[in-house]
């Protein structure tokens, strides 16, 4: 438990004139997280590209954990602040470090000390201070070892004009770019492993997202909706706020399957999912779609079939997994906590509709003939109007809405 936090921003050095707006986006997101978990007042200041937070009451572990999901943050470090008042001495700093590291008594760890003098007038050099800290730790805790390259523990000391901050534990953030700084996209979720990972990767790159699921009811049951809601809860922690739309798709699927050649069923289902996602993007003013496509994983993900989806979309389709192997996707799903939700079996309409021989090299004339001969835009819009809508906060809590809604 700590009442002071220091947060560093990832990739800020890459940004030139945009630096301010990136910093602003990150701070807004952090403040929203703090407000959502911390009821007491808090103050915030920026110094040397790091953001310092302070509150009369401690920030909870849950809050700190939650900050590690905020895109754009490199490190979240609880700190102890020692005021440079007339009677202070460096002994206070050493004492604080040794107390916070008491676990070293029984747990061996490799550490390094990092001292930065923001106040260049400070009498002792950084190197000397680092040596002294190292010496004191090694003397008190014989199990500890110095490791400069890959330390398990970083003891961070910063010396400012009015105070000194000490941090003995840092939590790595997801890094990347702050939420909303890389556009706004509609993420097409299925119940599988891939799409949640795709969403996570794009969250990391600062993409604001809403989630859409195509529910083939009455061809599939309600169980899958619970699964999608649970996945959304996990993914929403990487967003500041978001929405989930459960779009009824069973009747559209049946309608398409009655009209189209059997081997084209799957890609036509996907085409109309892409079209609906575009219609949603239009309503919410989003500029892209996100899918979990991985090149060649299934027959609808051949280069030709993916290209057809691009043609059906008025917006860019981001496919962050395009070059991922299945194992890489599964590992990432495990790391972000979606694997164990995705693995829960659910009935899907695939077995009923799946063509015996799905098309791999589609005939473009046949594909295009549907542009003029098969207009179901009314049905597609009606499906969006009927979508079950949830708003989801940054804690991953879902709130059902009475009608289609979104955040500007």
């Amino acid at each position: 438990m700590t009442s002071d936090l220091v947060i560093s921003i990832d990739e800020l050095w890459l940004k030139g004139k945009n630096q301010k707006s990136y910093l602003r986006a990150a701070i807004d997101h952090i403040n929203a997280v703090i407000k959502s978990y911390h009821s007491d007042k808090f103050s915030q200041r920026i110094q040397a590209q790091r953001i310092y937070y302070s509150s009369p009451t401690p920030f909870s572990d849950e809050l700190i954990k939650s900050l590690t999901f905020v895109p754009g943050l490199a490190y979240i470090s609880p700190v102890t602040v020692i005021k440079r008042e007339p009677d202070y001495s460096l002994e206070n700093v050493y004492k604080t470090i040794l107390e916070e590291l008491s676990f070293l008594e029984s747990t061996p760890k490799k550490f390094r000390a990092n001292v930065k003098r923001v106040d260049k007038q400070f009498p002792s050099t950084s190197v000397n201070l680092e040596k002294e800290i190292g010496h004191r730790i090694l003397t008190k805790y014989p199990l500890a070892k110095v490791e400069l390259e890959n330390p398990e523990l970083r003891i961070d000391v910063r010396i400012f004009g009015t105070n000194i901050t000490v941090s003995t534990q840092s939590h790595r953030g997801v890094g990347g770019l702050p939420w909303g700084t890389s556009g706004y996209a509609v993420t097409m979720l299925s119940g599988g492993f891939d799409s949640p990972v795709a969403s996570y990767l794009m969250s990391k790159r600062g993409v604001k997202q809403v989630f859409v699921f195509f529910h083939a009811y009455p061809f599939v049951g309600r169980e899958v909706v619970t699964k999608i809601k649970n996945l959304t809860s996990v993914l929403a922690k990487y967003q500041r706020q978001t929405h989930l739309y459960i779009v009824p798709f069973g009747e559209i699927q049946n309608l398409i399957s009655k009209q189209c050649k059997e081997e084209y069923r799957t890609i036509f289902f996907r085409r109309f999912m892409v079209e609906i996602s575009n219609l949603i993007a239009e309503r919410i003013k989003a500029n892209g779609l996100i899918t979990g496509d991985s090149l060649g994983q299934v027959s609808s993900q051949t280069m030709e079939n993916l290209h057809l989806m691009d043609q059906a979309s008025k917006r860019i389709i981001l496919r962050p997994l395009v070059g991922y192997n299945k194992m890489e996707i599964l590992n990432c799903a495990t790391a972000i906590g979606t694997h164990d939700i995705s693995i829960i079996p659910h009935d899907d309409a695939c077995s009923l509709f799946a063509p015996k021989n799905p098309i791999i090299h589609p005939n473009l004339d046949y594909w295009k003939s549907w542009d003029s001969e098969f207009d179901i835009s009314a049905e597609l819009n009606a499906a969006i109007d009927k979508a079950e809508t949830y708003s989801v906060n940054l804690q991953g809590e879902l709130y059902k809405k009475d009608f289609f809604s979104f955040d500007e």
Binding site: Y217, P218, F219, S257, D347, S351, F353, A354
Partner: protein
């Protein structure tokens, strides 16, 4: 609403609801209390108990206990018998899990031998083979009067007689889908029988267990000694009087309801069989309250959900086991090959089912079939 899942749970008779509400508001005292409030309730429970025994045609020295569910009634008997190593149990895996699960647990705990009751292709018990399995080691024979999935009626009178001719086994009958619907003929060979309230227009949370005088069954629940010491728990007075009322209505109208339901059930069978050629109905000698069939080609869940969108409610497998995907042990025991388990559908009726509802069911079923048949065979 066109409700055809009465075998899972039925709607309350309005008269039952009225009694239930009144009793919940007025009869809050504990029937075991010594004051007049408690004593009055106690006496009413005893009156109800006597009427249940009478309705079953039982001897007044036999016992009838109110329990919380038929599952509890079945468990009480199965776990309350004294088994020894080497004893055998005759049962059917086609029966409800509230019989098969405790039986399999007890058999494994006491190293008792399990023997399976052989069924013919139409779902009835193969009498000859059944007889050949009877020997002195059999301690318990569990029979189901009307199977909850197939609706097949077993001749429990004849079967229990055969058991007693060759063994000293305890004969337990699960009459959940029979009592209050078809004539349940208790005979001296039946040692115990379970039934429940919510399948006959009564509330959930109350059920019954008949126990013949001299049947050696230990209580499952010990405590305050309610239900004549056999089933401790504060008696749920409002539920008991409501169950009592539902029993009286059901038995009072039994013959009329049976005739009416038979007519409606025949109508459903004829119309659906005619208009949906792939429909298979494998079971014979069934209760008119249950019509089960297979519709190969399209998963029964999909049909069920298409029907629910049209305000028609039927069942794909027993509601208790609908979470089990695909394979269903009781369907296998009923002789249905595993690849058809996902194609099993059950339509179940009650005395309150109307002709209008049946027309709606048939029409909507035909519409759904028309909408989906192009997907058949996938």
């Amino acid at each position: 609403m066109n409700y055809f899942d009465h075998a899972a749970s039925s709607s309350l008779y309005p008269e039952v609801l009225e009694i239930l509400l009144k009793s919940y508001s007025e009869d809050f005292a504990n029937p075991s209390s010594q004051h007049i409030l408690g004593h009055t309730l106690f006496e009413k429970i005893e009156e109800a108990r006597a009427e249940f025994l009478k309705a079953l045609g039982a001897h007044k020295d036999d016992s009838f206990y109110f329990t919380s569910s038929a599952t509890e009634s079945n468990n009480t008997v199965i776990k309350g018998l004294n088994f020894d190593e080497g004893d055998a149990i005759l049962y059917s895996r086609a029966d409800h899990p509230s019989l098969t699960a405790p039986i399999e647990q007890i058999a494994s705990a006491f190293k008792a031998e399990l023997k399976e009751i052989p069924l013919s292709n139409d779902g009835t018990i193969d009498i000859e083979k059944f007889e050949s399995l009877l020997d002195k080691n059999i301690k318990l024979v569990a029979l189901t009067h009307v199977n909850n999935q197939s609706g097949v009626i077993q001749d429990v009178g004849l079967l229990s007689k055969l058991v007693k001719e060759k063994t000293n086994a305890h004969v337990h009958v699960d009459a959940v889908q029979a009592f209050g619907k078809i004539k349940v003929a208790l005979n001296p060979h039946i040692d115990s029988l379970s039934m429940t309230s919510h399948k006959i227009g009564g509330p959930k949370g109350v059920a019954g267990l008949f126990l013949k005088k001299g049947a050696n069954v230990n209580p499952l629940l010990l405590g305050g000694g309610q239900e004549q010491g056999f089933r401790s728990s504060t008696q749920a007075f409002p539920l008991i009087v409501a169950f009592h009322k539902a029993m009286k209505i059901s038995l009072g109208n039994l013959e009329v309801s049976l005739l009416k339901t038979k007519k409606l059930s025949d109508l459903i069978q004829t119309k659906l069989t005619q208009s949906i050629p792939p429909l298979l109905s494998p079971f014979k000698t069934t209760s008119p309250y249950i019509f089960s069939f297979l519709l190969p080609g399209i998963s029964s869940d999909i049909i069920l959900r298409h029907l629910e969108m049209r305000d028609v409610f039927i069942s794909s497998t027993s509601a208790c086991s609908s979470k089990i995907s695909g394979f269903n042990p009781s369907l296998l025991a009923l002789g249905i090959p595993e690849n058809f388990h996902k194609n099993f559908l059950r339509i179940s009726l009650s005395p309150v089912t109307t002709e209008k509802e049946v027309e709606n069911l048939v029409r909507e079923f035909q519409n759904v079939w028309g909408d989906l048949k192009h997907l058949k065979g996938k």
